[in-house]
Subunit: 214 residues, 2 copies
Amino acid sequence: MRSYGQYCAVAKALDAIGDRWTLLIVRELAVRGTCRYTDLRNGLPGIATNLLADRLRDLEDKGIVRREAAPPPIATTVFQLTDRGEELRPILHALGRWGASLMFEPADGEAFRGHWFSLPAELFLADHEPDAQPITIELRTGEQPMLIETADGEVHARPGTAEHADAVITGTPQLVLGVLTAKLGLTEARDLGLRYDGAPEALRRIQPRAAGVD
Amino acid sequence: MRSYGQYCAVAKALDAIGDRWTLLIVRELAVRGTCRYTDLRNGLPGIATNLLADRLRDLEDKGIVRREAAPPPIATTVFQLTDRGEELRPILHALGRWGASLMFEPADGEAFRGHWFSLPAELFLADHEPDAQPITIELRTGEQPMLIETADGEVHARPGTAEHADAVITGTPQLVLGVLTAKLGLTEARDLGLRYDGAPEALRRIQPRAAGVD
DNA sequence: CGGCATCCTCTTTGATACTG
DNA sequence: CAGTATCAAAGAGGATGCCG
C-alpha cells in the first residue's frame, strides 16, 4: 500500500498494518500461535492465496512475522509473531472490544472458526472464583470444538474436547457467544435453539459481571 | 469495502473502519473536535476530495460521525464524532503507541500538522508536579504553533501561542517530538538544530519518566 | 499436500477539473 | 465552502498451474 506520508504515529502504524487482511493475519497468529501457511488460509476464509503470500512477505519485511523451517520431524515452514508483532495485541484487543457490539446483528452466511472464541474469552470472561477448583466448558458450534478453561483468575480457550466438562454448550456461534457474554439469558437462548448441558453455575462463574460486552 | 464475511469482532470492526483513510478521518475529529469539510481536508494531506466525501458518508451511515448544519452565525456544515465514534479512541491510542517507535526514522518529505502533537501529548506526557503552578510550553514546528499545557496531572496540546510560555521549542517535528518524549537529549537535539528557550525544568516536568516512548 | 506464482477481471484509489 | 464528475493506475479477488 502506498504510504500516507504523514508524520503521525497513527498514520505510520496504518502504513505498516493498515492493508486489507493484514491485521486478520496477525489475529490468526496471535490467537493460534505458530501456524503453517495452510493453517492461516483455513483461519482466514475468503483470502486469496496470492494475497496471503504477499502479506506474509510484507509482515516479514516489517519485522512483525518470523518465518521458520519447522523442526526436523515436520517438513514445512511455519509462521509466528515476532516481539514487535506481539506488541500488536493491544490493537487487536481495542478492535475486538469496539467490534463486539457488532456481533449481535444478524450475521447470516458469515464464516466462523472455533478458535476465534479465544479473543472474547480473553477480553470479556474472568474467573470469579479463582480459588475454587478450575472448570472446563466445552463449546460445540459446528466447527472444531473448543474448550473454555479457568486458570489464575483468567479464562482461556483452546481447541479440544473434555471427558468431564462442567458444561457443554451447543449451538450457533451467535447463541454460544451470547450466553458466554451474558448478552443472552440461558432460557432465552434455549428457546432460540441453544443446548446447554451441565451446571449453570459454571457459566455464571465466568460471565462478565458489570456492564457486559459493550 | 467488501466485508470480510467473518463472524469475528476484529473482522467486524475492520469491516466498519478498516477502509483506507477512515481511521485518519476519525483521528482528525478526535484530536480537533468539530471540523468543517475544509478543516478535514487540511488535516488529511494527501486525501482525494471525493474519497473524503465518500468516507464521511460511510461514517455517517455507520453512526460514527454526525453531520450538522453549524449554528446560525456560521453558514457551513460541520462534522463531529458520535458517542460510538468516540469509542474508537482506544483504537487510535493503541495504534499511536505501536506507531510511536516508527517516529524516529528518517521521515523526510512527510506532511505534518501541529495539532497532531495532541496524540503523543495525551499518550506519553504527564505532569509530574500536579500541585505546582501549571506550565505552558510553546511548540513551533514551521506549521501552526501549538501550546502544551498542564492540567490535573495531565498534559494537553492545543493550537495557539502564549505570551509568557515557560519554554518555547523550535525545530523540526522530529526534533520537537524527540525532546518532548525524552527520546532525544536536549543538548543532543540542540546540536541537531533544535532551539529551546526557557527553563529545562518545564520540559523535565512533563517528559515520560519510565520506559520512554516505546 | 504445502507454498506459492500467474493471469485475468473487477473494484478502489488518486489526481485533477469542475460546480452550486 | 463543500462537494461531484471523470479517468487512469493500482490493488483485490478468483481460478488455475507449478514445483518440491
